[in-house]
């Protein structure tokens, strides 16, 4: 099992969700986050004071998936979230040791 964590542009969230549903991902967790990468921030001006805003708003999508579909999940997110402009985000994949469905007590693949 793998945990796929994608940082994407906020307005791409719906497309990413649809793409994941289409390949059979049962659920994702979404968090509004801020961060910086290669995309530059912007400056804000309040009367005489100018502030550089480095941290830009992004959406973090987390999906726990079976090893069998992890490559397709990555491709789906990539395709859905890409605009081709700097700031499209990143996908992180990490091993996942255990999953438990709280309601039934199922574990591992059955709980995905």
């Amino acid at each position: 099992m793998k945990m796929v964590t994608a940082i994407v542009k906020p307005f791409k969230l719906d497309e990413v969700r649809e793409a994941l549903s289409a390949i059979g991902v049962q659920g994702v967790t979404v968090t509004e986050v801020k961060g910086f990468g290669r995309q530059k921030g912007h400056t804000e001006l309040y009367r005489g004071a100018e502030y550089v805003v480095d941290f830009l708003p992004k959406v973090k999508v987390e999906a726990a998936v079976d090893d069998a579909i992890v490559d397709r999940v990555i491709e789906a997110i990539e395709a859905a979230a890409r605009t081709g402009k700097i700031g499209d985000g990143k996908i992180f994949v990490s091993p996942l040791e255990q999953v438990v469905r709280i309601r039934t007590g199922e574990t591992g693949k059955d709980a995905l």
């Binding site: 309040y46 009367r47 502030y51």
Partner: protein, 511 residues
């Protein structure tokens, strides 16, 4: 706890001071009873003139009967007073509140709310008497301490205050209430300069001192005069003029408070910004306004409320009020445009905060001018003020080097000075202005050919300078006293945590 005790002791002291003054006033009653009726405060002589229907007739027939206020005037002044209350809470509180970080939102709302309330109480106890009764050229007297002799419960009668027309009066209590809102909002304006770092108790004690020794005397100097009904003959004009406040005698025009309210408060704010010091992280951390939406709501409510402030300053529901109304309308609109244009040219973008600031700049600048200038003059004043205050919060702010958190000096100081000086220009009948009385007995106005813009601007300039120096010195001493007794500033830890939790034990927003 200590702070609370001190604040409490201070208010007791204020009450005791008021009480003793009251006792003195009562004791000297018998003596002053012999004084002529004309010596009474604000020409509120119950037996001064007849009905307000015919000004000249009533002036010629003194001591005929008690003047009866016009219901329209009374109704308008009640509405105007309520509008100015709305200007402080919620308008000014929201305008300021939106500009601070969310951790200090409630502290700003509270400082405005409680300062407003406290000053209204002090105004009733002694402030009104100090500002609007006859005394010397700088301070009024104590004849109206504790609202003495303003309402007779046995007969249900009230003392009357004169307006700007002979024989036209409004109940003096209404005039007092209207002026109470001015005193209170002026003090609230200062809050913007030291926002986000000053102790709540220190704010309140400072306000008591500044209100007593700067607001009341400046209001007296600029606005106190015996009223039109006091000029009963040509012979006594000079003697009657001599009873007025210093700046009034110098001929300074200030319709609704460019000097008394805005320059006065702005100087107190600027001195405060220097004395309290810069906020932690100033220049390094981003102090972004937490809700420009609320700031816009506040600015818009200020604009509405300002019609009470400016048009209400006519004290009657007549042409003068209408002139003040339309000028307050148009000058503000011109200033919004000017600020937005200026920002677009300078920075490439016109901002919401800029438009809101422009509105306030225009409102401030038209305040001394509103009933004293013509229609095109008002548009020019608004336009100039928009650009001038934009400079006030950019270039001037950098030159001064103080952390005036919400630009009280940049907007109210610069706008107030621009407005006060240009009042002297556009008051001229040659430039469409209504001019001012040449002869206080007949009410005749200065004619266009005799009007000297230069001398009027000089009179305005002197009033501006006196206000700057007076308010600056009083503020300096008041801040110093507060600093030596209870301390001006919250601890570093409290400042980082935010004043909402540190000073008030609550949070503005819960996510």
């Amino acid at each position: 706890m200590n702070k609370l005790l001190l604040a409490f002791v201070f208010s007791l002291f204020a009450l005791a001071f008021g009480g003793s003054a009251f006792a003195q006033a009562a004791a000297s009653d018998a003596a002053s009873a012999a004084a002529p009726a004309a010596a009474m405060a604000a020409a509120s002589t119950p037996a001064a003139s007849a009905s307000g229907a015919d000004a000249s007739a009533s002036a010629a027939a003194p001591a005929a009967s008690t003047p009866v206020p016009n219901k329209g005037d009374v109704a308008w002044m009640i509405v105007a007073t309520a509008l100015v209350i709305m200007m402080s809470v919620p308008a000014l509180a929201l305008f300021y509140g939106g500009l601070v970080r969310s951790k200090n939102m409630l502290s700003v709302l509270m400082q405005v709310f409680v300062t407003f309330s406290m000053i209204v109480v002090l105004w009733c106890l002694y402030g009104y008497s100090l500002a609007f009764t006859e005394g010397n050229a700088f301070f009024g007297g104590f004849s109206r301490v504790f609202m003495k002799d303003m309402f007779d419960p046995l007969t249900g009668t009230m003392s009357m205050a004169s307006t700007f027309s002979k024989g036209v009066v409004i109940p003096e209590l209404l005039f007092m209430a209207f002026q109470a809102t001015f005193a209170a909002i002026t003090c609230c304006l200062i809050v913007g300069s030291f926002a986000e770092r000053m102790k709540f108790s220190a704010v309140l004690v400072f306000m008591v001192l500044w209100f007593t020794f700067s607001y009341a005397p400046i209001a007296h100097m600029v606005w106190f005069w015996p009223g039109p009904d006091a000029y009963t003959s040509k012979a006594i004009v000079d003697a009657t003029n001599a009873k007025a406040g210093l700046l009034w005698q110098w001929g300074a025009l200030d319709f609704a408070g460019g000097t008394v309210v805005h320059i006065n408060a702005a100087m107190a704010g600027l001195v405060g910004a220097f004395m309290v010091g810069k906020r932690l992280g100033y220049g390094r951390e981003a102090f972004t306004p937490h809700s420009l939406t609320l700031t816009m709501v506040g600015a818009a409510l200020l604009w509405v409320g300002w019609f009470g402030f400016n048009a209400g300053s006519a004290l009657e529901a007549g042409n003068s009020a209408v002139l003040a109304f339309i000028n307050t309308f148009s000058a503000t609109a011109a200033a919004v445009l000017a600020w937005s244009i200026g920002e677009s040219l300078m920075k490439g973008k016109a901002s919401m905060l800029g438009a809101a600031s422009g509105a306030v700049a225009g409102l401030v600048a038209i305040t001394p001018a509103c009933g004293n200038v013509g229609l095109l003059g008002a548009l020019v004043i608004g336009f100039v003020a928009g650009f001038a205050c934009l400079w006030g919060v950019n270039g001037l702010k950098k030159m001064l080097g103080a952390d005036d958190s919400l630009d009280v000096f940049g907007v109210h100081g610069v706008g107030g000075i621009v407005g006060a000086l240009l009042t002297g220009v556009f008051n001229s009948p040659g430039l469409g202005g209504p001019s001012f009385p040449d002869n206080w007995f007949t009410g005749e106005l200065v004619k266009p050919e005799n009007y000297s813009i230069a001398s009027q601007v000089w009179a305005q300039g002197k009033a501006v300078l006196v206000t700057i120096v007076w308010s600056g010195l009083v503020s300096l001493v008041a801040y110093k006293l507060v600093d030596m007794t209870i301390g001006l500033r919250v601890s570093e830890e409290d400042e980082r945590e935010g004043l909402d939790i540190a000073a008030h034990g609550e949070t503005a927003y819960h996510n």
